[in-house]
């Protein structure tokens, strides 16, 4: 190569060189990266919105938000790897007459200190951001309310039963009053089950001889499903119950229809004791 050609080549490949940005490898990869990142971000918004069930508690909302946030953060990283991989197949792929003859050797580049350091730094920063997010969300969920509704959840092969201490009610449907903090005290009588009311955004195993605790505050009315998330034997798939987030008044009524006294029901529901004279009361 003559001196002029060498200069041209250097200029073409350096940032300050003369060739337009988007006709250099870096530029083209940038475009591909941009396209992939946008697709990734769109997936981050589309998937939760269209695929996740409607969440019925702040913890459920946290799950939604986390998925969006993590996808948006991960998209540029994945996009970069994909962009370079795709570009390599188009720009640097060697096509020859004889498939058995290898292409000529490429420019050896055994490493690049600055690139490696930047990569490490960026990935560390991303991890720290993810971690802070996770810790922040998790800590916020650990707040316990002193007058939370207590629900004792019992897992057994192959049914969930729920009892509401103080009311004498034990049922197989999990009805909860809206906007009232609830604390689930979960245990099992035989093997390990997984108490999983998915749209409430909380989950904990039901272990024999141990009580595990999770807390949430349902904030959206509607029916939901409780599944068992830990394989527990023959009818694990049938260990589904329903639940329902209802108004306090409906909850009071429901408790009474299951045998609670009006006073106990009112306390549990958080309704005033004078408002419990309903036609359904026993």
């Amino acid at each position: 190569m003559s001196f002029e050609e060498e200069v041209d080549e250097i200029e073409a490949n350096t940032l300050l060189g003369g060739a337009p940005f988007f006709s250099r490898p870096g530029g083209k990869i940038f475009i591909i990266w941009l396209v992939f990142t946008v697709i990734g971000v769109l997936i981050g918004f589309y998937a939760p919105h269209h695929l996740l069930p409607v969440m019925q508690s702040p913890e459920g909302g946290d799950v939604w938000a986390t998925i969006v946030f993590f996808t948006v953060l991960a998209a540029p990283v994945a996009a970069l790897v994909y962009a370079i991989a795709f570009y390599s197949l188009f720009a640097w792929r060697h096509r020859s007459e004889d498939p058995d003859v290898p292409p000529p050797d490429a420019e050896p580049q055994r490493g690049n200190g600055p690139v490696t350091v930047v990569w490490l730094a960026v990935s560390t920063v991303l991890v720290v951001v993810l971690l802070f997010w996770g810790i922040a969300v998790w800590s916020a969920q650990q707040v316990s309310h002193p007058n939370a509704l207590q629900v004792n959840v019992t897992g057994q092969q192959w049914l969930w039963t729920y009892s509401y201490p103080g009311t004498g009610v034990e049922t197989r449907t999990l009805d909860l009053p809206v906007n009232r903090p609830v604390q689930f005290n979960v245990t099992s009588v035989d093997v390990t089950h997984g108490f999983w009311p998915a749209v409430l955004g909380v989950q904990v195993d039901a272990n024999p001889d141990v009580v595990t605790v999770i807390r949430t505050t349902p904030n959206k009315l509607g029916k939901f499903i409780v599944q068992c998330s830990q394989l527990c034997g023959l009818y694990h798939a049938f260990m589904n119950n329903t639940g329902d987030v209802v108004t306090s008044q409906q909850f009071d009524t429901w408790l009474q229809s299951n045998g609670a006294t009006p006073t106990a029901a009112a306390t549990a529901a958080g309704t005033s004791s004078s408002g419990s004279t309903t036609a359904m009361g026993k």
Partner: protein, 234 residues
């Protein structure tokens, strides 16, 4: 040649393994006597509506191989294992009144969770229990420490989540646990009616821990077909 032969043998073995338990799945004690279809009894009026009325009758076998009938239930069964029979598959029409009569021949004890001693999901929330000495009582719960088995039924996910049935089948200290000829032995009779739900597959199982190992829910309780089965609501 040796490698290829081994390889072909291995492939045949894989195919054989797959074929084996597909066949197992159809000949294991799941369908020993086919599906027991509920007998039609005409119609009945429930909650002001006229619905088809059918009847089902079955019993518990303390020794699933012992009696002539028992051998029909589980030819490959274990003498120490109880079973329901003659079949563990039942068929009832959807949205119908199903009257069930169960003869309970087995001994028992305490439930893991006394909640299952309560009747739930039947018409009126009650069942009629007749003890071996002829005393009859219609109630919504029995003594949780004298339970032989239960008949507990729920739908497959998404079929009818509102449906649930649980009827305890009592026992007493006099019922031996190895009645090999139940047709001549003592038994409790439990009679109840329920409204069947939407069409689909429902699973029934016994919630009394009459099995082995942890929580007495292993062994027979985990072996499909003895204390578990399906109700096909058609």
């Amino acid at each position: 040649m040796g490698i290829l032969l081994t390889f072909v043998v291995a492939l045949v073995a894989i195919g054989g393994v797959a074929a084996f338990f597909i066949s197992q799945s159809y000949t294991s004690p799941n369908y020993p006597n086919g599906v027991q279809v509920a007998q039609p009894l005409g119609t009945a009026v429930v909650n002001g509506q006229s619905v088809p009325h059918v009847a089902l009758q079955f019993q518990t076998y303390p020794d699933s191989t012992g009696s002539v009938a028992g051998k029909q239930v589980h030819p490959s069964g274990n003498p120490a294992w109880p079973a329901y029979g003659l079949s563990n598959q039942y068929q009832v029409p959807a949205h119908s009144l199903v009257t069930v009569t169960i003869r309970q021949y087995d001994s028992g004890g305490s439930l893991n969770n006394p909640w299952f001693a309560k009747v739930s999901g039947t018409v009126g929330g009650v069942a009629t229990f007749t003890s071996p000495d002829g005393k009859t009582v219609t109630t919504n719960h029995v003594d949780p420490d004298n339970i032989g088995h239960t008949f507990t039924m729920r739908s497959a996910p998404g079929v009818d989540s509102a449906f649930f049935l649980n009827v305890p089948l009592p026992t007493n200290a006099n019922l031996p646990n190895n009645q090999t000829n139940p047709d001549a032995g003592q038994y409790y009779t439990v009679k109840f009616s329920f409204l069947s739900g939407a069409k689909g597959v429902y699973a029934w199982n016994c919630e009394f821990p009459c099995g082995q190992m942890v929580a007495s829910f292993g062994g027979v309780m985990g072996a499909y077909g003895f204390m578990s089965g399906f109700v096909h609501v058609v």
